[in-house]
């Protein structure tokens, strides 16, 4: 036994041997508490252990050990996920990828970079910005979330209206499969490799198909110019009409964000206030980027559109500092709710843009009926809504009420032809809500795919799909019986 740790558990000893140091494994209860949940804090469960592999080979050996010994396991990055995808509901061994955090290579000529999964999102942009390049997906947590986690969740961000979400920027993945085998897909970052698009399937699979150990991403050249407009509306309906008008005018903004009255109250009470008036119903943040010669025309058009929709005040950012302040105010919007509420629950519905006024009024109704305030922060351009249900967990029954209100918001999104999650993932939080958008056959079609990769279902089990789904299980058995 090379690694000396105090345990009678042969599995923990064996896992410690693989990572090779007592400092790279946690297994005492007091150390494990930090890992009992992620950004979704309403459910907690202790893992069996947390291990910190240094490279792909170690990940592979850890996975193989877990698989051979029927130990449930899952991968974790920075733990910023908002749907509970990294919560060890089965007492998993957590394979933390935070020690695998190197930027392995950057190839400017071919516009790609290779990173390890624990590499922090924003670090990539920071390390290539001197050459005029950046990495496009920008979730609000980008200063601390990892690119490995972004791949698992297919993370979005404020700028995905024009530039797409994580999946549109992934060119290659090295993956440790649930049995420990290592595969390399999208080799050399070359697109359209023959065969099924496993790259696309794995991205957003919430850590249920494999563990990503190396990622080739696309990097982009900074746009020559960008300009941001802020617009205040007395009526939320005018704000949402302005959103539609901007898009209908043939403008593709880089970002088109909206906050409602309650959200404004929150961000103005928090760390980055910018002086939004408190009596307006909606603020829009609209960013256009591209060739400098074309920006002014588009900005003028946007100003015109807003004026036609009874805007109270609209103007472009005076300088980069002001633009930065506006964005800091918006990007810290979720956390800002802490300034006006003891607790809050973030939801992540998506709707066809044209349904915005209807959905907002129905969410208002949910708020009234539940007696809980709901703030709305959303990526209005692509219809991705983040209702923030404000509550106080110390008051008995409020957590349950908040969960129910959040779920009701998702039902509204599904009802109008939308979906239950745009960028936060299903995790454990929304797995029952999967039934709002998929029927049994469609869920089976997905679990069938999972079974090809995750044959023993030891990797991140109990996520993403409705549980136990009696109906689903029975149909599955019937199908299996019919096939024999």
């Amino acid at each position: 036994m090379a690694v000396k740790i105090k345990t009678n558990d042969k599995h923990i000893q064996a896992l410690a041997e693989i990572v090779g140091s007592p400092r790279l494994i946690l297994f005492h209860q007091e150390d494990l508490i930090a890992y009992d949940c992620d950004g979704f804090t309403l459910h907690k469960h202790l893992p069996k252990a947390v291990v910190f592999p240094k490279d792909t080979q170690e990940v592979s050996r850890l996975v193989r050990y877990c698989s051979d010994n029927d130990l449930p396991f899952l991968a974790r990055g920075a733990g910023t996920g908002l749907s509970g995808g990294a919560i060890p509901v089965n007492g998993e061994v957590i394979i933390s990828l935070v020690k695998m955090k190197r930027l392995l290579s950057v190839d400017f000529e071919n516009r790609r970079a290779v990173v390890e999964p624990g590499y922090v999102n924003l670090k990539l942009t920071n390390s290539i910005s001197d050459k005029g390049y950046y990495y496009a997906p920008d979730p609000s947590s980008q200063y601390c979330c990892t690119i490995g986690g972004n791949v698992a969740e297919n993370a979005g961000g404020a700028h995905c209206l024009k530039y797409g979400v994580t999946t549109n920027h992934i060119l290659g993945l090295e993956v440790v499969l649930p049995n420990g085998d290592i595969i390399d897909i999208g080799q050399n970052g070359i697109q359209d490799a023959p065969g099924y698009d496993l790259l696309g399937l794995l991205t957003g699979s919430e850590g249920t198909l494999g563990i990503v150990t190396k990622i080739t991403v696309r990097i982009l050249k900074n746009p020559e110019a960008k300009q941001t407009v802020l617009a205040y509306f007395d009526k939320v309906i005018d704000g949402s009409q302005a959103v539609s008008d901007i898009i209908s005018a043939g403008i593709v903004p880089a970002a088109l964000e909206m906050m409602d009255k309650t959200a404004i109250e929150g961000v103005e009470a928090a760390a980055f206030p910018v002086g939004h008036p408190k009596d307006i119903e909606a603020v829009l943040l609209i960013e256009v980027d591209g060739i400098s010669a074309g920006i002014e025309e588009q900005i003028n058009q946007i100003l015109e559109v807003c004026k036609n929709r009874n805007v109270r005040e609209v103007r472009a950012a005076r300088d980069e500092q002001e633009r930065g302040r506006w964005w800091a105010n918006r990007k810290t919007g979720f956390g800002a709710m802490g300034a006006i509420s003891a607790d809050y629950l973030v939801q992540d519905g998506v709707i066809p843009r044209s349904k915005l006024p209807e959905v907002l009024s129905r969410i208002n109704k949910i708020s009234e009926e539940s007696g809980l305030r709901i703030a709305n922060i959303f990526h209005a351009g692509d219809g991705n809504l983040h209702p923030l249900v404000l509550f106080d967990a110390r008051i008995p029954g409020q957590s349950e009420k908040a969960l129910a209100a959040g779920s009701a918001c998702l039902q509204v999104c599904a009802d109008v032809g939308g979906t239950i999650t745009g960028e936060h993932g299903v995790g454990i939080e929304k797995k029952e809500e999967m039934r709002f958008v998929f029927n049994d056959e469609e869920i089976i079609a997905q679990t069938n795919v999972r079974d090809v990769f995750n044959t023993k279902n030891l990797l991140n089990a109990g996520k993403l799909f409705p549980s136990p789904g009696r109906c689903v299980e029975i149909k599955k058995e019937m199908k299996a019986a019919a096939a024999q």
Partner: protein, 440 residues
């Protein structure tokens, strides 16, 4: 006119006028002993269910442009044609999304959307014949992929009919969606081996307010100059939607200039387009020839461009063998692929026309000549692509030659996963047998 007596079952499923028995075998293969033309999703599902129950094999087609793309069986039992399964299901102008039946020709769809100043940002070959379902199933893309991405970037929802007749919806109607696995990705480019695409939902873009095309022709001898210029352009603030390198032979045919030509397209507000044109004029490399086509002229060029490769729907019989390859390499290696293609004219006595995107690394090489020369050239091009770390897929080749070159170029190391998926979805192997990678 139905003579065969063993077709009674399929006749129970579809009216007689939707069934055709084709006596002649098409030289590109992917035939069916019987061709069926369902008009509804239910009819498609019934045909598949019938085949799944009786053990018959089904091959799927619509416009027929990709008939020569893969497939090692000359004749399946049923050729399922989606040619009569057309039309727009829903177009929400304000949401900029459209749902359309798979058999709708791409050009027809584009013309309809243009009335609303919108477009699908894909530029596939043969848009008048190619259907949206076929474009998605074969993951076809064109030079403007540089600016707009490919099928995987624009398809937001699919309605699939599984081989057992079950309808499976993937994705949805919103532009952002991470509910469950991204099943759309599995079906895009799967060559119809996992299910029949019934409806496609796409996100749309506004039609460009202005477009232009800068054609920059370099002397044939100087490829280093191409590389230097392309690299500097990609590193500039310019936002070309295409940066396609044309081989001298292709350049000669399209614009009458014998030299390596860069086709650099801009689509934006007018001031931005002119600004970018000016940038290129100012930085024009020595000894190059520059032409700028705007608006209608630019569109005219692209219309011709999309017809340069062979089409499986072509009815005129060609004595020479035609082939087309899709080659994927790291971006700048495109220059090497295009150069090598140019040498095939002399080394293999072939007509070889090639183009490739310096921003995305995908090339297409079209070959015409004696069949043994075509086969040998395919092998040579593939060897080179593999040496560069890339791949070569044969997009078009007569049926008899397809067994001589592996259309997909071997199996990837993780092939077992693909095979596992196929077996789960299509356990009886009903759909498009041996059409895809590794005999899937």
């Amino acid at each position: 006119m139905i003579e065969a007596t063993n077709q009674w079952s399929i006749k129970d499923i579809l009216p007689e006028d939707q069934i055709l028995i084709e006596e002649l075998l098409h030289p590109l293969g992917n035939n069916g002993r019987v061709t069926v033309f369902p008009k509804t999703e239910e009819e498609i599902a019934n045909v598949l269910r019938y085949a799944n129950d009786t053990g018959e094999k089904v091959t799927v087609m619509a416009g027929g442009t990709k008939r020569g793309y893969g497939g090692l069986t000359e004749t399946a039992d049923i050729l399922l044609s989606l040619a009569n399964y057309q039309g727009i299901v829903e177009h929400t102008v304000g949401d900029m999304t459209v749902t359309v039946k798979a058999g709708t020709p791409f050009k027809e769809l584009a013309a309809y959307l243009a009335q609303h100043s919108q477009k699908i940002s894909l530029d596939p070959a043969w848009p008048e014949y190619a259907t949206i379902g076929g474009v998605i199933a074969a993951n076809d893309s064109g030079p403007k992929r540089l600016g707009y991405g490919s099928a995987r970037d624009v398809v937001i929802g699919l309605r699939m009919i599984y081989p057992d007749g079950t309808i499976i919806r993937a994705g949805g109607r919103t532009v952002k969606n991470v509910a469950g696995y991204d099943m759309n990705k599995l079906f895009i480019g799967a060559m119809g081996t996992l299910g029949v695409i019934s409806e496609v939902t796409l996100k749309l873009r506004p039609l460009a307010k202005f477009e232009s095309l800068v054609l920059l022709t370099f002397p044939e001898t100087n490829s280093e100059q191409v590389r230097t210029f392309a690299t500097s352009l990609l590193d500039s603030m310019l936002e070309p939607v295409s940066m396609e390198l044309l081989s001298p032979s292709l350049s000669e045919r399209l614009i009458g200039k014998n030299g390596y030509t860069l086709a650099i397209a801009f689509e934006d507000v007018e001031s931005s387009v002119h600004y970018q044109e000016e940038f290129i004029k100012k930085n024009q490399p020595v000894h190059t020839d520059l032409a700028i086509l705007q608006q209608q002229d630019a569109r005219g060029f692209w219309e011709q461009f999309y017809k340069i490769g062979p089409s499986g729907a072509e009815t005129t019989v060609n004595k020479e063998t035609e082939a087309s390859l899709k080659i994927g390499v790291v971006n700048m290696d495109v220059i090497k692929v295009i150069q090598e293609s140019q040498t095939l004219k002399d080394s293999h006595n072939l007509v070889a026309e090639a183009h490739g995107g310096l921003g995305h690394g995908l090339c297409q090489v079209n070959l015409k000549g004696a069949s043994e020369d075509v086969v040998s050239a395919i092998q040579q091009l593939r060897d080179s692509a593999v040496q560069l770390g890339g791949y070569a897929v044969v997009k078009h080749l007569p049926f008899t030659l397809r067994s001589k070159v592996d259309v997909w170029g071997g199996k990837p190391s993780h092939f077992f996963l693909m095979q596992g998926i196929k077996e789960k979805v299509d356990p009886n192997g009903v759909l498009n047998e041996k059409r895809f990678v590794g005999g899937i």
